[in-house]
């Protein structure tokens, strides 16, 4: 750090708040030469913030300290190659500005798979067994079994885990294999930077020279035409060379708006598998597995308590577990059901509050665009009967209410009617893709 700049910062401490200093001025790099003091901001936003709010003060202090007028120049960039402090390694989505232009454009090969995400650590249940089986097949026969493999489903259900697990298995079977994992935002920002620095050839070459390309959350490609164009060509090149492509998306890609039709059709060439929200047993098993990994002593009773009350996704389960661990650690208490109930009372209540029968009825009515009063009426036309059965089945799935209570809440119906609704909907979900998607989407809306 320039000595002048160091003294300037010390002086500014008396004039500016510490938040301002640390957040906007400390990240600046400084170089001093015969032309004056050069300050380098890590990104355009910081540059603007410093120029608008602090530059006059900085100039004043610098001149004062030097005893003469010293030009101060501010630009985006880096002062010189130097030992960097630990800094985040990935990049930004295109909606935001690239914040660290000095970083290498591409992530490194074969080093960015998370070794913790393997098939062994993946908790299998009905909701995800097909996804796991497909990912394993792909990992055993990369480029041959299914290409591309597309895993889709709501956030926090294990898509990324399966993707890394497949990548890790590919590498374990063939240690020389080049597997590249990245989030879609990294692909986007890497391309934006390649365009800025006129290094598109390099960008193309890097992506096309891998044996397996894993891209997470491709829904963020929606509406980004240039990115889609480039990804389309990358996809074709990899596909033709029989290199494996694994993608994840938060929904069935055909339903993604603002995605080019030709890309959608390519995505359908291989296998698309839905990862569904885990059922109760799987949630409990996930909790036990994660608590085991964290070295926590969590009983089955506690796991069942959390699994019953938190239905949204695996991340919420993990957050609850982390919070429980931190609190138990602080109080030095064992994690009993009472302790969990007490500690997570607000969390569990908020989760429970979100899913009430009236809430389900209203959400289902909105979803199918029928009137709530019709949904609760005695009318038996098909256009109402199906949504009504859906709402009943969801009430059974998502609340603690008994069949008679649910029947009561639906205009005083018999409990056998509710039971019939649950069975009908379950039957439909097994046969009818459309119905299953409605079911999943509604669960997502109600629990997310």
């Amino acid at each position: 750090m320039s000595e002048l700049w160091r003294r300037c910062l010390e002086r500014l401490e008396g004039e500016l708040s510490a938040e301002d200093l640390h957040t906007w001025l400390m990240p600046l790099q400084a170089r001093e030469d015969i032309n004056g003091l050069h300050l380098f901001a890590p990104n355009p936003y910081t540059l603007d913030a410093v120029r608008e709010q602090y530059l006059p003060t900085i100039r004043g202090v610098v001149d004062h300290l030097a005893g003469r007028e010293i030009p101060v120049r501010l630009e985006v960039g880096s002062s010189a190659p130097r030992a960097a402090p630990p800094r985040p390694a990935s990049s930004m989505p295109s909606a935001t500005r690239p914040s660290e232009p000095s970083l290498p454009v591409e992530p490194e090969y074969a080093h960015n798979l998370d070794p913790h995400y393997t098939f062994e650590t993946f908790v299998e249940g009905k909701s995800n067994q097909l996804g796991k089986a497909a990912a394993m097949q792909v990992a055993m026969n990369p480029g041959r079994a299914y290409n591309p493999l597309l895993l889709y489903g709501g956030t926090g259900l294990g898509k990324t885990h399966l993707m890394h697990a497949a990548g890790n298995l590919i590498v374990a079977n063939n240690p020389g294999t080049r597997v590249l994992y990245l989030r879609s935002e990294q692909f986007v920002s890497g391309m934006v930077r390649a365009l800025q620095t006129k290094s598109m050839d390099e960008f193309k070459r890097r992506f096309r020279s891998v044996d397996a390309l894993l891209i997470d959350d491709i829904q963020f490609f929606a509406g980004k035409d240039t990115t889609q164009e480039e990804f389309f060509h990358t996809f074709n090149a990899l596909f033709e060379a029989k290199q494996q492509i694994i993608l994840t998306c938060d929904r069935y890609p055909k339903e993604l708006d603002k995605l080019e039709p030709r890309l959608k059709s390519r995505l359908g060439w291989g296998l698309s598998v839905a990862i569904e929200p885990p059922d109760f047993e799987t949630r409990a098993a996930i909790l036990l597995s994660k608590s085991h990994d964290k070295g926590m002593a969590v009983s089955e009773d506690v796991a069942m308590l959390l699994a019953r009350r938190i239905r949204s996704n695996v991340r919420d389960l993990e957050g609850a577990l982390n919070t429980l661990a931190a609190r138990a650690n602080f109080y030095g208490k064992p994690i009993t059901t009472d302790f969990a109930e007490e500690t997570l009372r607000d969390l569990l209540n908020t989760h429970a509050q979100a899913v009430t029968v009236p809430n389900i009825q209203k959400t289902v009515a909105d979803y199918y665009q029928v009137r709530l009063s019709d949904l609760l009426s005695k009318r038996r036309v098909r256009s109402l009967a199906r949504p009504r059965q859906m709402a009943m089945a969801l009430s059974k799935e998502l609340t603690e209410h008994s069949l008679p209570e649910i029947g009561e809440a639906f205009g005083g119906r018999d409990h056998t009617t509710v039971l019939h609704a649950c069975r009908t909907i379950r039957g439909f979900c097994e046969k009818d893709v459309r119905m299953r998607q409605d079911w999943e989407q509604l669960i997502r809306i109600l629990t997310g």
Partner: protein, 231 residues
């Protein structure tokens, strides 16, 4: 050769861990944030009502990280001029990032996306992300499901507002710390004007401190009245 001393700019003096009065209910939250500040990684989500000490804990964590030789940044979203998404994307590169007023990203698609990307960056890099908001993640109306689920994965540190007795205790202690004598009548008067928000009371105390020093006067109700009229 000149040995360069590491620069250790001070964070606000009032907001340190040892100045945080946890009362009966907030000791665990204090311990969780304290642990994350110097020894942890991952994301801690501090939730609590206005005036319960969220900003205090965030700033104290920045100070503790700085003391431990780690870089730290604090961004209060309510103070951001212009687009919040750009401010969120503009901070970073530090070991610890404290983002205050996270409630304010909800419904702003760009800001939600920027926070999602920031979350990923910090967790990928093994850094620490401290977030603070009034509502728990599950009750925060976040539109981007990817962000909502990530907020749900954070370790939660819940804060509750101190009760009246505890807030009086804090105010008295802070006043003594500054060498100000506050008698009960003056305290009653202050509490009548700022019934809930301890942060606002402490800001007032800072002003009182400066003004009474400048005026060389004891703190009385007429003095406070004239001070607030001027403000």
């Amino acid at each position: 050769m000149i040995t360069q001393l590491p620069l250790a700019l001070r964070w606000p003096r009032r907001q340190r861990f040892d100045q945080f009065f946890p009362g009966a209910a907030n000791a665990a939250a204090l311990a969780i944030v304290e642990g994350a500040a110097t020894g942890g990684n991952g994301c801690v989500y501090v939730a609590g009502p206005a005036g319960s000490g969220k900003t205090h804990l965030l700033i104290a964590a920045c100070q503790a990280a700085t003391d431990a030789g780690l870089s730290a940044q604090y961004l209060g979203l309510r103070h951001v001029r212009g687009a919040r998404s750009e401010a969120i994307a503009g901070v970073g590169g530090s070991h610890l990032l404290a983002l205050d007023d996270v409630d304010l990203v909800t419904g702003d698609a760009d800001a939600e996306l920027a926070l999602f990307a920031t979350y990923n960056r910090y967790l990928d890099a093994g850094g620490v992300l401290l977030l603070a908001a009034e509502a728990l993640p599950v009750a925060l109306p976040v539109q981007l499901p990817d962000l909502r689920s990530r907020l749900g994965a954070c370790t939660q540190a819940r804060l509750v507002a101190l009760d009246d007795g505890e807030r009086r205790h804090v105010l008295q202690a802070q006043a003594r710390h500054r060498g100000i004598v506050l008698d009960e009548v003056v305290l009653d008067w202050m509490f009548a004007r700022y019934p809930r928000d301890l942060g606002a009371l402490l800001d007032l105390l800072d002003r009182v401190d400066r003004a009474s020093l400048a005026a060389q006067r004891r703190v009385t109700i007429p003095f406070l009245r004239s001070l607030l009229r001027e403000g």
